[in-house]
């Protein structure tokens, strides 16, 4: 019985204009978006390899090793192939970062960036599913019940001996299949096409993440499908249902997630980073100024230890400022995330960007990694300097000594900058809130539709 009803539902959808339109929209949008971003990724990957190679060459040729810790080196995260599907914060994360002793790492290279990117969000798969997918889900279900009621066919169906819950379930399954099949077909084609024409290639863990991406997308669209079905059960005219659906959609998808981060900024303010950087500089300066005399008066052999002690003091003082500041930033971020989660759209974006490795967690992870890398790099440079000094001690000729100290360095001796993307299992822990929200909303909306339909007045 159920199979029969589903088949009927599916058939009537397949013949409709909106199915053709959905198929076309999904196909054109997804294939062109994936292809476009894959081409982009291609360029980024080439650029990255080229830059890395030339940086290594420069290191091999450089004849002033001693200045390396002041000049610093530029490091860059390799481009993430998953960003083709969810750009997220990838653009901000893949900027080149300068790591040196006296400067803080900056995520900067904006002076060379195209400002148009700031004007519009990236047209990636995430965006298409988030906005177009949810809209299409509403369009598929807004007249599921009230449309049939208007046409009078609902009465006809119910005149047969079919239980109401079966009718509703069949409608849900049939209609949702009709929505999701074109989606999968488009994604599959897009993936195939992009892999054939560009250098995009996914590793095993990327494939798992991609499957996760698809699962979240399916879950997200079904939230809106169930919601539209519920609204269609609550109304008796399809035009009313359409308007109400649309109202809910604008608020959930366009208003809440877009306002939340701004509202969070106003609700839990954070001092601007420039002030914090200045504070740290001031602390450093004042400690040095106090200690300067002591160092000069101290006997020569104690000076190194004294310097070390001062450095440690500076570190602990500035760390205090930083920890306090980062706590504020984190609380602002979590306020924004909590506010945005009022809407399933935000949950979808967080989950997808997290799976693709371009979300907020990865941003924080990168920040921490850069900090660790900086220490590691500076320690290594210090160690190499010490080794060379020891080596040079025995040499009498001044020039030769200088040559030993300034000799070019093998890039392999320096620690490699390779931020690891968190594993999927770790990611799942972060994602579980969002996944849970989507699941619960699915259940709630479907149950709402179900209980509404059981008491639906056919005669009205």
């Amino acid at each position: 019985m159920l199979a029969l009803l589903i088949a009927k539902e599916l058939r009537s959808h397949l013949l409709s204009y909106r199915f053709v339109l959905t198929l076309l929209l999904f196909f054109v949008l997804i294939v062109s978006s994936v292809e476009m971003l894959a081409l982009n990724y291609d360029r980024q990957a080439t650029n990255y390899a080229e830059t890395k190679r030339s940086q290594e060459e420069a290191l091999k040729e450089a004849t002033d090793f001693r200045s390396l810790q002041w000049r610093g080196i530029k490091v860059e995260k390799p481009p993430n192939p998953m960003s083709v599907f969810a750009m997220g914060l990838e653009r901000e994360m893949s900027r080149s970062v300068k790591v040196s002793r006296f400067e803080d790492a900056k995520l900067g290279r904006s002076k060379y960036a195209n400002p148009l990117f700031a004007l519009f969000p990236a047209p990636d798969l995430l965006y298409i599913v988030n906005i177009v997918g949810s809209l299409l889900a509403l369009l598929f279900a807004f007249d599921a019940i009230c449309g049939e009621q208007e046409n009078g066919t609902l009465k006809l169906v119910m005149a047969y001996s079919v239980p109401r819950h079966l009718v509703l379930l069949a409608k849900w399954i049939g209609g949702y299949l009709a929505l999701i099949l074109p989606f999968f077909a488009s994604v599959f084609t897009a993936l195939l096409f992009a892999q054939l024409t560009t250098s995009l290639s996914l590793s095993a863990s990327d494939w798992t993440a991609f499957l996760g991406l698809m699962a979240v997308a399916v879950l997200y669209m079904s939230v809106f499908y169930a919601l539209a079905m519920w609204i269609s059960v609550l109304t008796h005219r399809s035009s009313t249902s359409l308007v109400l659906n649309f109202l809910v959609w604008v608020i959930l998808v366009l208003l809440v997630p877009n306002t939340a981060p701004m509202a969070a900024r106003a609700m839990s303010p954070v001092p601007s980073p420039g002030v914090i950087a200045g504070q740290r500089q001031a602390i450093q300066r004042s400690i040095w100024r106090e200690a300067w005399r002591d160092i000069r008066q101290a006997p020569r052999e104690d000076r190194a230890a004294l310097r070390e002690e001062i450095q440690a003091r500076i570190r602990s003082e500035t760390d205090k400022v930083m920890i306090d500041y980062l706590q504020k930033v984190d609380s602002q971020i979590s306020t924004g995330v909590m506010l945005a989660r009022l809407s399933p759209s935000a949950s979808y974006v967080y989950a997808t960007a997290g799976l693709a490795g371009s979300g907020l967690t990865e941003f924080t992870g990168l920040r921490e990694y850069i900090g660790r890398y900086r220490t590691e790099f500076l320690d290594k440079v210090q160690q190499l300097t010490d080794e060379r000094n020891r080596e040079a001690e025995g040499v009498t000729d001044q020039e030769e000594r200088q040559e030993i100290r300034d000799a070019p360095i093998d890039p392999d001796d320096l620690p490699a900058f390779a931020p690891v993307r968190p594993r999927l299992a770790d990611n799942l822990v972060d994602l579980q809130t969002d996944l849970l929200i989507l699941l619960v909303l699915n259940a709630v909306f479907f149950l709402g539709a179900y209980s509404g339909f059981l008491r639906y007045d056919l005669m009205k």
Partner: protein
């Protein structure tokens, strides 16, 4: 006659649920967006002003011009008044620049800032009009003709002695008004919200820009409404009309504008940052090698020199160093200028591709009118570079005049005083210049509006009403 018909159209719209929903959405979204962004702007302005004095006092503490030159002064991105309406390029992590002896400064993002704003588009007036209102325009117009034809009232109406042209004009006027009036209310409310806040100094020219931006928004709504009317005339059924319009909306408002920059990157690529830096390094390597060789040659001789000769040699090297710096600057500037020319071209390509969509034209026009667009970004960076030149000149003069003193390494200048240091000030961009720069986009919107209305008009004259 026209008046009666338009009034009838307006009255029927007014009684519908969708008008209520559209009008309340329009007003609600407008007010919420301005309210939230106003709080954001006020916070930014306070931050900006307090930071300015903090940065100044930090610079005063350096104690030596050498330190000032090396560590530099910070400059924050000045908050733009119009970001309460059009957030535009302000949606960036790059908030503060360090002006030092690096002569090509730029705003950079702090690694510790909150990136969550970047995950979603900002719900500003730009978004409300470009995305939501353009959809509402389709929503109000999809059944203007198709619906009446389905219900049979169109036949009835035309059985009176009403000319078709008056009828379609009345439909346009009545429908457009029922959309434009809520928008004007929302605009008036946001103007009220802006003027009620003492912290946002909207001046005369800002209000003029506000007015122009309002007119451009109305133009966009007119374009979208005309497209909706056209589809409604052409479609057999209103359900077909709304579906087609939704697909059209997705493409015009959501996809085309966003794809522009990415398409332009494929069509007209610019070299990556790494490549630019490589070119600069290649160009300047010869110069600095020569300089280093000079040192090495001299270093060997120096051991046998008298004190006077050594001082002479040092002076000579300092001079050579200055010359080297000038030569390196020139070479770098050439590379950067070339790169920026290519980037401008890429932006132009992106704009040209996306202008097919009236929403994109609207965004380009209004962000530049409100000084939160690409033009502003370019002027800001140029201003920053100019300021760096001023700063460098100032420090050099001071250093020359300074008597020095203190130790060599951690030396402090006894007469360190930077009260007269120049302050970064963004030069004003006159409204007329901004309008002239965006005349193409505004013209395009007018052309679109006329074109689509004419198409709807002509189609309706020839349409089959049964």
């Amino acid at each position: 006659m026209l008046f009666v018909l338009a009034a009838k159209e307006w009255a029927t719209n007014l009684l519908e649920l969708r008008f209520l929903v559209c009008a309340s959405l329009c007003v609600f979204l407008g007010v919420v967006s301005v309210f939230v962004l106003r709080a954001d702007l006020v916070a930014k302005r306070t931050d900006f002003h307090s930071n300015q004095s903090v940065y100044r006092s930090q610079a005063e503490e350096y104690g030596s011009y050498r330190q000032l030159q090396r560590q530099g002064v910070r400059v924050d991105r000045p908050p733009q008044n119009f970001q309460v309406l059009f957030y535009g390029v302000e949606k960036t992590l790059d908030r503060s620049a360090v002006i030092s002896d690096d002569y090509l400064p730029g705003f950079e993002g702090d690694i510790n800032s909150n990136p969550s704003v970047l995950l979603f588009p900002v719900a500003d007036m730009l978004f409300v009009v470009g995305v939501v209102l353009s959809l509402l325009a389709f929503f109000m117009s999809y059944d203007a003709v198709a619906g009446e034809r389905e219900r049979g009232t169109l036949k009835l109406l035309l059985s009176y002695s009403v000319p078709r042209d008056t009828l379609i004009l009345a439909k346009w006027v009545g429908g457009y008004l029922s959309l434009a009036l809520p928008f004007l209310v929302s605009l008036a409310l946001s103007a009220l919200l802006i003027s009620a806040s003492d912290d946002i100094p909207f001046r005369g020219s800002d209000w003029e820009a506000f007015f122009v931006a309002g007119v451009v928004s109305l133009l966009l709504i007119a374009v979208m409404f005309s497209i909706g009317l056209l589809v409604s005339v052409r479609a057999r059924q209103s359900s077909t009309a709304i579906l087609s319009l939704l697909a059209l909306w997705v493409i015009l408002a959501l996809v085309l504008p966003n794809s522009g920059p990415y398409l332009a990157e494929v069509v007209s690529p610019v070299p990556g940052v790494g490549e630019v830096e490589r070119t600069i390094a290649q160009r300047t390597k010869g110069l600095s090698d020569e300089y280093a060789a000079g040192w090495r040659r001299g270093g060997r001789r120096m051991r046998n020199m008298t004190g006077e000769q050594r001082a002479e040699f040092r002076r000579e090297r300092t001079k050579a160093r200055e010359q080297l710096q000038v030569a390196v600057n020139e070479a770098t500037e050439e590379v950067i200028r070339d790169f920026e020319r290519q980037l401008r071209q890429q932006i132009e390509v992106a704009r040209t591709i996306t202008r097919l969509s009236p929403v994109a034209a609207f965004v380009y026009a209004n962000t530049d009118i409100g000084e939160t667009g690409v033009r502003h970004e370019r002027r800001l960076v140029n201003g920053l570079r100019e300021y760096q030149h001023q700063f460098a000149r100032y420090v050099a003069e001071k250093q020359e005049a300074s008597s020095g003193g203190g130790d060599f390494g951690f030396g402090e200048d006894d007469d360190y005083d930077i009260d007269d240091m120049p302050v970064f000030q963004q030069r004003e961009d006159h409204l007329s210049d901004r309008l002239a720069a965006r005349s193409v986009d505004m013209l395009l919107l007018v052309v679109f509006a006329i074109l689509f209305f004419m198409a709807a008009f002509v189609s309706f004259l020839r349409t089959d009403i049964t």
